[in-house]
Amino acid sequence: MATEKLSIVKAINASLRTALESDPKVLVMGEDVGKLGGVFRVTDGLQKDFGEDRVIDTPLAESGIVGTAIGLALRGYRPVVEIQFDGFVFPAYDQIVTQLAKMHARALGKIKLPVVIRIPYGGAIGAVEHHSESPEALFAHVAGLKIVTPSNASDAYWMLQQAIECDDPVIFFEPKRRYHDRSEVDREAVPGPLHAARTVRAGKDLTLAAYGPMVKTCLEAAAAAAEEGKSLEVLDLRSVSPVDFDAIQASVERTRRLVVVHEAPVFFGSGAEIAARITERCFYHLEAPVLRVGGYHAPYPPSRLEDEYLPGLDRVLDAVDRALAY
């Protein structure tokens, strides 16, 4: 029986296990990924089964983790690196944007950098500072990186398989607030393309485009809107670099309205790029400007304020109403 109901955590764990089993060059490395199984237990049991040589507890130094992962990739390994929390990726930022992203081009294609960087991201878990951020835009601007983020267990399993198989560096953002959401995973399915968006709810009045943790929020918003007689289409973008603009365009050409939703701050966020490009592609189709719902231009707030800070169902519906009012 290939289909199983799994949480995202368990799906990622299973995906790592599959990768470690099927390719001896795959390594898992990061802080506390060994005996502890990671602070979210994503790597639970892997070191026990694959040994300390393949599931590696690293020194506490993110630049070192990514920098040595690059070296390991140059030696023919396929490291899957864990950054413990979103806010701790920045010490590795230089290695990621200056080395990892650019080395393949620097070598005119003669070397490949199949490194996956897993980052649990986003808020709503009641955490202290630095544990709830959504930094995807800070990587999407940089050529040479691919950025994906699953919204459910099946995608978590398959997209990670594909990311590990990919010969390019992939940043794999995991929606930590959804880690324990369970859904069916068919481990014998043939997955679609890694960077394709997916219509997770069809509709005709307006398109909601989201990814990662916000897909569920948008589905809830669409359900609530349906009760008011509004038919919203929900796209799970799945990939932030590249963005599947064709899919968004196709949807917007039908619905004529688009709201983009993400947790990250709106200013210079993914929504800006999507709004700009879709407006260019669908100028005569759009009945309303592309609206964006996301975080404010503020540090992620203390957790007692995160409900106000994060885009929730109401703020999504507010934007939907504003878009429909045009």
Binding site: L36, L60, G87, F88, G126, H297, P302, L305
Partner: protein
């Protein structure tokens, strides 16, 4: 140092070789100790210290109250009043000893676990709880007690401390600065860069590393293969390892290090060899990665017990003192409980406050939108 060409071939596997502890012998670190686990006072040639019975009782009181506060915070987390707590259990001597070594005009850069140091600096312990409750990211004025905010990103504050110390030197002041960090933090590039800047500018900063043997689930062997205090020498300043469960030794060594900094002799690294008796934080489950036996070994070296033994052995404190302290602890615990439970949530517009000192048009715009948006619901609710 030259290559020892007679050395035997060692196994190539990084795993085996890297995991091995360096052999004892000439490398075996000397541990500065002034009080044995049994509470016996011993002398160290480099770190003489004279402490009055009253001061000893003060140190004891500090440690007891800090532990009680810490335990109360753990309880409050379990009760859902705090989102998280990072306990200092077991590290009281390292923190109180070093904290009491500082002068008012010194400046302290802590991690997220320096509750005992905060206590010494005069920060009201309830102020520490805001960030763990989620009402703020730092609830005190750093300049009120020269105690910087807790820094969560590992190692960053070592550079802030060094920069601050460079400023102290520029001012010609004779204050010193102390930067706290853990054994795990010693691997961060920022800490190494702090060592370099401190050395090059001869900054009056003491690097105080609490080696509590663990960085979450990783033992110190995952960060270094030689004792951490030795890291300093290659940067051009001295390092010393002190018994981190010995409050007197921590006091004496930190005092000497701060005095050194104060008198223009530059930085110093103090490694306080101690143990994290509890979980990394309340989110952590140490049974997954370490054995009870280790904890038991360290229990025998308990910092509070050891000073109590000394106080009793020397007749410096009696039943009355301990009973009064118990009552004081209870009162502190109650105050902490009461304060936390009634700690108000911030106004939701606090999201937009203090992002910039001099304002930012976008923040103003978003605040206005937010207020208008929230007002809709108020309208609806009042309808």
């Amino acid at each position: 140092m030259t290559v020892d060409s007679t050395a035997a071939r060692k196994p190539r596997s990084g795993k085996r070789a890297g995991a091995k502890k360096p052999a004892a012998g000439p490398d075996k670190p000397e541990l500065v100790q002034l009080l044995t686990p049994e509470g016996e006072r011993v002398e160290h040639p480099d770190y003489a210290i004279d402490v009055t019975p009253e001061e000893l009782r003060g140190l004891y009181r500090d440690m007891v109250l800090t532990r009680r506060f810490d335990g109360e915070a753990t309880t409050l987390q379990r009760q859902g009043e705090l989102g998280l707590w990072a306990s200092l259990l077991g590290q009281e001597a390292a923190q109180i000893g070093s904290g009491r070594a500082t002068r008012d005009d010194d400046y302290v850069f802590p991690t997220y676990r320096e509750h005992g140091v905060a206590w010494c600096r005069g920060v009201d312990p309830t102020n520490l709880l805001g960030m763990f409750r989620g009402v703020n990211h730092g609830g005190w004025d750093p300049n009120e007690n020269n105690f910087h905010l807790y820094t969560i990103v590992i190692g960053s504050q070592a550079l802030h401390a060094t920069g601050y110390a460079m400023g102290v030197a520029k001012d010609g002041a004779d204050s010193a600065v102390i930067a706290y960090f853990g054994d795990g933090a010693s691997s961060q590039g920022d800490v190494a860069e702090a060592f370099t800047f401190a050395a090059v500018y001869n900054a009056p900063v003491v690097f105080f590393c609490q080696n509590n043997q663990w960085a979450i689930s990783e033992p110190t062997e995952k960060q270094t293969r030689v004792p951490l205090y030795r890291r300093a020498e290659g940067f051009g300043f001295p390092g010393v390892r002190v018994d981190g469960n010995d409050v007197l030794a921590c006091l004496a060594v930190t005092k000497a290090a701060l005095e050194r900094a104060r008198t223009g002799q530059g930085p110093m690294l103090v490694e306080a060899f101690t143990y994290r008796m509890g979980a990394h934080t309340t989110s952590d489950d140490p049974t997954r990665y370490r054995r009870d036996e280790e904890r038991e070994l360290w229990e025998a070296k308990d910092p509070i017990l050891r000073l109590r033994r000394h106080l009793e052995r020397e007749g410096h404190a009696g039943e009355e003192f301990f009973a009064a302290l118990e009552a004081e602890s209870d009162a502190l615990a109650k105050r902490v409980r009461d304060t936390v439970r009634t700690m108000p949530d911030p106004a939701d517009t606090a999201i937009f406050e203090h992002i910039y000192a001099d304002g930012h048009a976008l923040v103003d715009e978003e605040r206005a939108q937010f207020v208008a948006y929230q007002a809709q619901f108020a309208d609806e609710e009042s309808n």
